[in-house]
């Protein structure tokens, strides 16, 4: 017996990986029509990678759903199309066309309203249209204090809404996937991962990510302590005194381009990103405009946002 136990020790990353694969398979076994939300960000990349591992050598048994606001960075669209093709994933792209046609944007309508229409509403409509009874998401409990309260299998009523005061108890690794007609479940296989785990895993597994995560000199506008990437189309939207300049920078998290800031950084490879993440004093979501405000994430989640 001696020495045997330590030989069989799983590192914490491998233990997290095994737990996530277990969850993903359990959903495919218990639900009729699951879908995996794919936002093109680093957590999505990890989620997709875990799903490929879960069903190897078979292809993914569910499609990917990207709820597109039309405001993503162009590097994200390129990456999405190339990578999904490369791994043979069935990608569905859905947009809230009605809101987009009416010109919904964060500048004129406010960040909360824009997000509510293009992301939350877009998501709920896409889930309803596809008649999905389970939707995988890459949310992590360490991201934000209301997300810290999420179950792995998180019930949504027939309106797609979350009731944080009435969550199903979740015991051991036995997940209850039984729902009524019209209800659905959001499933978070990487709930127990931290930002650091995600970076370590991406580094370890050599998972491709959008190049925006790596530092290089980019044209940026400085606005209220945030670094906003500058594109030619923004010319008329510059405020007084603002002038685009080249800044060595990268993104810690990727959302819509008007609402996601970059950080000053020299981290241009995975080792440097891991080192930078370990030393970070601020959370990654600090660069997301929508998260600021006392209960904003919880309120959005109740409405149906992830």
């Amino acid at each position: 017996m001696s020495g045997k136990v330590s030989e069989h020790k799983l590192t914490q990353l491998k233990a997290l990986e095994a737990e996530s694969i277990h969850i993903i398979r359990e959903v495919v076994a218990e639900f009729r029509n699951p879908v995996m939300l794919y936002s093109v960000g680093k957590d999505s990349s990890v989620l997709l990678h875990l799903a490929r591992k879960a069903f190897y050598p078979a292809p993914l048994p569910f499609p990917l759903l990207h709820v597109d606001t039309g405001f993503k960075f162009k590097e994200m669209y390129e990456f999405r199309d190339n990578y999904c093709k490369e791994v043979g994933a069935d990608l569905i792209v859905r947009r809230n066309e009605e809101a987009i046609a009416r010109g919904m944007n964060p500048k004129d309508h406010g960040v909360a309203r824009c997000c509510g229409a293009l992301k939350t509403q877009g998501l709920l409509e896409a889930l309803e249209e596809g008649e999905y009874d389970a939707a995988f998401g890459g949310a992590r409990r360490d991201e934000e204090r209301s997300r810290a309260k999420e179950r792995v299998f998180s019930m949504r009523d027939e309106f797609g809404q979350w009731d944080p005061k009435n969550q199903r108890p979740e015991l051991w690794n036995i997940y209850n996937g039984r729902i009524h007609e019209g209800e659905s479940v959001r499933v978070f296989p990487i709930s127990n991962w931290t930002e650091m785990d995600v970076w370590l895993y991406i580094r370890e597994e050599k998972i491709p990510i959008v190049p925006l995560y790596f530092a290089k000199e980019r044209l940026m506008v400085e606005r209220k302590e945030m670094l906003i990437p500058y594109y030619e189309e923004m010319k008329d939207q510059l405020l007084e005194g603002e002038e685009p300049k080249l800044v060595m920078s990268r993104f810690r998290t990727l959302g819509c381009s008007p609402c996601t800031g970059a950080v000053r950084s020299d981290a241009s490879n995975m080792d440097e990103i891991v080192i930078e993440a370990a030393a970070a004093r601020r959370s990654e979501r600090e660069t997301r405009i929508i998260d600021h405000g006392s209960n904003s994430m919880e309120d959005k989640k109740k409405e149906g946002y992830f």
């Binding site: 045997k4 590192t11 233990a15 934000e144 944080p164 051991w172 690794n173 039984r178």
Partner: protein
């Protein structure tokens, strides 16, 4: 952080913890303290809960922060000043990564405490030094004992409010030791602390020189996490059958699942239950290549050398180490449903990947959590009550007792009408 450090960070162990206790004993404060002292919380998260809104963009000391607000993440919780649901928190030291389930203290939310505790390897039971052992402390300790949590740490908090008095601490230690001895819990660590000031959490402080044990953080770093689950009999509940049916793999048939205990090697003779058919392991398949050997808790795919009937809900074991099988079960049950459990009622019982219909044939007894005495003529089990229940099953279940194997000895009960999870069962 250097290359060497990256490697170490990747390879550290994981310890799952739960914190429990009565209302207002300072759980949220303790967790806030642990997060601040291990740098598990970021500056912007700390600034959001600082007591006085200041202009400075940095927090100089933990006393500037409302520690409890850091963890009470729901607006209803902040509104009422109580914790309603489990919050999961993450922090790490150079030795370990910790996943901590912060559980509510209110009696009405006991079920959320069971949720948080079911996966834990260690528990911190908080006690307010001024109040001593409360009914809720006993309830929680009893549940932790039933759940078989390997390590219990009693943290006697708010020592600053009793003048750091050693006698007060010793009295609580004796009371808890006596209560735990009654139900056979031996491995108990007691330590005094002040979560608010930080004494004995991450640093010793100057106020309790009379206590010679480790700080809480040292204790957590040094607990043994070896439960030798890989040394137990091989148990492989089948989640799904993998049949790609692609041009390259027209006849491929793999059994996907998580090894919940034990070790499996290529060539091992295995038996599938309930069919009883045997075969040998042909391949252990993973995305990263085939393995010669796999062990708990890895998630893998197994292929066999014979075409035998195996589907979801079945279990593969080694031939000489079969699980028990029966259509009748007795189990300790924590009732977490709104409507009481009663005799003759039918539920769905989910055990690993297998769901079967189950009927309550008898409530053997209900446990009085204060005295631990058995009430033998109970007609029902109300929410948050605990008892010994006998079940009859529609189909035989393949299981081990909970004491032998937490994974194959546990189950949940699901109400067929509401679909809610209403019971947590531990097979005896």
């Amino acid at each position: 952080m250097t290359e060497l450090n990256i490697k170490m960070t990747k390879e550290i162990e994981l310890l799952r913890l739960v914190t429990v206790g009565s209302v207002d004993d300072g759980k949220s404060t303790l967790i806030g303290r642990l997060l601040v002292d291990t740098k598990g919380a970021f500056e912007d998260q700390l600034l959001a809960v600082r007591k006085k809104k200041g202009q400075e963009q940095h927090i100089a000391s933990a006393s500037e922060i409302d520690l409890a607000m850091l963890t009470d993440g729901l607006s209803a919780e902040r509104e009422q000043g109580i914790t309603i649901d489990v919050a999961y928190r993450y922090f790490a030291t150079p030795k370990r990564k910790f996943i901590m389930a912060d559980c509510p203290g209110h009696e009405q939310y006991t079920r959320n405490m069971v949720t948080g505790a079911s996966t834990a390897s260690a528990a911190i039971i908080l006690i307010d030094a001024r109040n001593g052992v409360m009914p809720q402390t006993k309830r929680h300790t009893h549940i932790l004992g039933l759940l078989g949590i390997p390590h219990l740490i009693v943290a006697v908090n708010k020592m600053d409010l009793v003048g750091f008095d050693q006698a007060t601490f010793e009295k609580i230690r004796e009371d808890m030791s006596a209560y735990c001895a009654k139900q056979g819990i031996k491995d108990l660590i007691c330590l005094p602390m002040s979560a608010l000031d930080g004494d004995m959490v991450a640093v010793r402080g100057d106020n309790m020189g009379w206590y010679e044990g480790e700080t809480l953080l040292e204790t957590l770093e040094n607990l043994s996490v070896l439960d030798a689950v890989d040394q137990k009999p091989f148990r492989f509940p089948v989640q799904l059958v993998n049949r790609p049916q692609t041009a390259d793999l027209p006849d491929y048939r793999g059994f996907m699942g998580t090894i919940v205990s034990g070790t499996v090697r290529v060539g091992d003779e295995v038996v599938a239950v309930p069919s009883g058919n045997t075969s040998t392991v042909k391949e252990i398949v993973t995305f990263d290549g085939n393995l010669e050997e796999a062990f708990a808790p890895q998630s893998v795919t197994l292929t066999l050398n014979d075409e035998i009937d195996v589907s979801r809900g079945d279990m593969l074991t080694h031939v000489g180490e079969k699980a028990k099988d029966s259509k009748e079960l007795r189990a300790n049950v924590c009732w977490i449903g709104n409507e009481p459990l009663s005799e003759r009622k039918k539920y769905l019982l989910k055990h690993n990947t297998n769901t079967v219909k189950a009927m309550v044939t008898q409530i053997d007894f209900k446990t009085d959590i204060h005295t631990l005495e058995h009430e033998e003529d109970a007609a029902e089990l109300a929410m948050n009550e605990i008892g010994r229940i006998s079940f009859k099953l529609l189909k035989p279940l393949h299981y081990d007792t909970y004491a032998e194997n937490r994974a194959t000895g546990s189950f949940i009960l699901i109400d067929t009408f509401t679909n809610n999870t209403v019971g947590a069962g531990m097979i005896v």
